[in-house]
């Protein structure tokens, strides 16, 4: 048996293919794979995982993204809309960019997941089969944490604006309609909740607007927690330096009752508060579809996952990413962190669907900016690395931190962050 060079190449290619290493795919760094991935939810997580699975499989894996809204609207930066610094259109991105990556985007509502048959059912009756499913459902509210609040009230009078979109615009309208000398109160749920610094940023941007337009008004921060949950020194400095006499911070304010008629909040251990605009954020849990699909494993709230793959500990073949997961220690529920989850999941899914061994996940990072007025911002950053022994992510000792002080340079970086993370997820 003699083998010429041409035959050798043929045999080599066959050998490489048998070993699960595509020639081109290997050069691209992994890649290949085939089959069908369905993604539920087109937020930061769902959009990113859809794009990256297409990209890293060199288009080999079919990806269907199911999202109930027509466009992506960002929660990060939405406080700028509440504060009147930006318009909703500026934080809205179309799903057309994902279609260019070959993602099949379906506008619809998933009503059920059948983990045994590996299908998802849509509200319109359609059924879609998957080999692997990614559930990126974000959060839904635990209405029972605010006695007196109903989903109907929360859609009309007592807004949360904790999911960006119509609620963001409606809260802005309530602020514009408020009289000078009015009281805006934001009620923060017990941690863990989505976007730890978000409520404090909102208080700043609302106060920034009121200071300029309705200076006799007040902003009350009613926090169910014992203390400020993120960037404490930086926020407290902003409240003192920029909003003295406007913002008042009140910790340990767990709501015992809401009376929407008199616009009054009652608390277990503190005086009742009456306000002109009540912005009540109820406690969170993983989104409804995660509950229906049997993915919630912790405290009746969060989805346990294998951090190597983001695969559910309850249902094989289903990956859960983002705010819905049971967070690793010191890991925030943030849009940025969700994109990192999405990339861990994408790498694992492409490996699994190519018959390759799944490597330990990469290090991931979180960078989160908050505006304290229309121009100045502050950040918190952290790096998280996988601990194979404890099977979880841990922050790298000595890494991360917050801004030295609020500044305009980071105000520019904050907006650049948004434009880049939206492009990375959706374009």
């Amino acid at each position: 048996m003699t083998i010429n060079r041409r035959d050798f190449l043929k045999v080599s290619a066959a050998g490489a293919a048998a070993a699960g290493i595509g020639g081109l795919a290997g050069c691209a760094g992994g890649g290949g794979g085939s089959g069908n991935v369905v993604v539920i939810g087109g937020g930061y997580g769902g959009a990113t995982v859809a794009k990256y699975v297409r990209m890293w499989s060199d288009g080999g894996i079919n990806v269907t993204l199911i999202e109930r809204n027509t466009n992506f609207v960002s929660c990060p930066m939405s406080n700028l809309v509440v504060g009147g610094e930006r318009k909703l259109e500026e934080i809205t991105v179309s799903y057309d960019g994902l279609k260019k990556h070959g993602v099949r985007v379906i506008q619809g509502e998933v009503t059920a997941v059948d983990a045994d048959k590996r299908t998802v059912k849509l509200a319109n009756g359609d059924s879609i089969a998957y080999d692997r499913l990614v559930v990126s459902p974000g959060i839904d509210f635990m209405w029972e944490t605010v006695p007196g609040l109903t989903p109907e009230l929360a859609n009309t009078k007592i807004l949360h604006a904790w999911k960006a979109g119509p609620q963001t615009v409606a809260l802005r309208k309530q602020l514009e309609d408020m009289k000078d000398g009015g009281v805006f109160a934001i009620a923060i749920p017990k941690a863990p909740y989505r976007c730890p610094p978000g409520p404090y940023e909102r208080a700043c941007l609302v106060a920034n607007y009121l200071k300029a337009k309705k200076p006799k008004s007040k902003v009350l921060i009613l926090d169910a927690n014992d203390d400020v949950q993120s960037k404490k020194g930086l926020f407290m400095a902003a409240w003192k330096d920029l909003y003295a006499g406007i913002i008042e911070y009140r910790p340990k304010h767990e709501i015992s009752n809401l009376d929407a008629n008199s616009m009054t909040l009652k608390f277990e251990f503190a005086d009742a508060v009456k306000a002109d605009v009540l912005n009540v954020v109820p406690g969170h849990r993983a989104g409804d579809i995660a509950k229906q699909a049997g993915l919630i494993t912790a405290n009746n709230r969060w989805c346990g996952i294998d951090w190597r793959t983001m695969e559910s500990t309850a249902r094989p073949g289903i990956h859960v990413i983002g705010d819905a997961t049971l967070s690793a220690p010191m890991m925030p529920k943030s849009g940025h962190m969700t994109t990192q989850h999405a990339k861990i999941a994408a790498a694992a899914i492409v490996s699994l669907m190519s018959g390759e061994q799944v490597a330990d996940p990469m290090s991931i990072a979180n960078t989160c900016y908050s505006y304290v007025d229309g121009k100045q911002a502050v950040h918190v950053a952290s790096v998280h690395t996988y601990d194979a022994k404890d099977k979880t992510f841990k922050t790298v000792a000595g890494s991360g931190g917050v801004s030295a002080a609020r500044n305009e340079i980071e105000g520019k970086y904050a907006w650049a962050w948004a434009k880049n993370v939206w492009a990375d997820a959706l374009l």
Partner: protein, 99 residues
């Protein structure tokens, strides 16, 4: 004899290919985490440093200088402290190879 050499050649190819794929995938995945700010494959859409095609040695040095404090930064000095030299090398090698 010839048959043996084919088997050996395939085995070697398999190993070499596997190692290459894993190493490249490692760099790709590590770099992807940076992409949330710096753009997909380092292609920033503006306001953040573009990293695609960035010379490897230059990027390694920049991140190491952020880490040591030699190069001032708003956030990169805090992020750089989360990475080892080997990790920084892998990320820089990946970005250097991007168009």
């Amino acid at each position: 004899m010839k048959r043996t050499s084919v088997v050996v050649a395939l085995a070697l190819l398999g190993l070499a290919g596997g190692a290459f794929a894993n190493e490249a995938t490692y760099g790709r995945n590590m770099a992807a985490a940076c992409g949330s700010c710096h753009g997909t494959n380092g292609k920033s859409v503006g306001g953040m440093e573009a990293l695609n095609g960035y010379p490897k040695d230059k990027l390694v040095k920049a991140v190491q200088d952020f880490r040591s404090g030699a190069k001032p930064a708003t956030v990169m000095h805090q992020l750089a402290k989360g990475y080892t030299d080997a990790q920084i090398e892998a990320i820089a090698a990946y970005y250097a190879a991007q168009k």
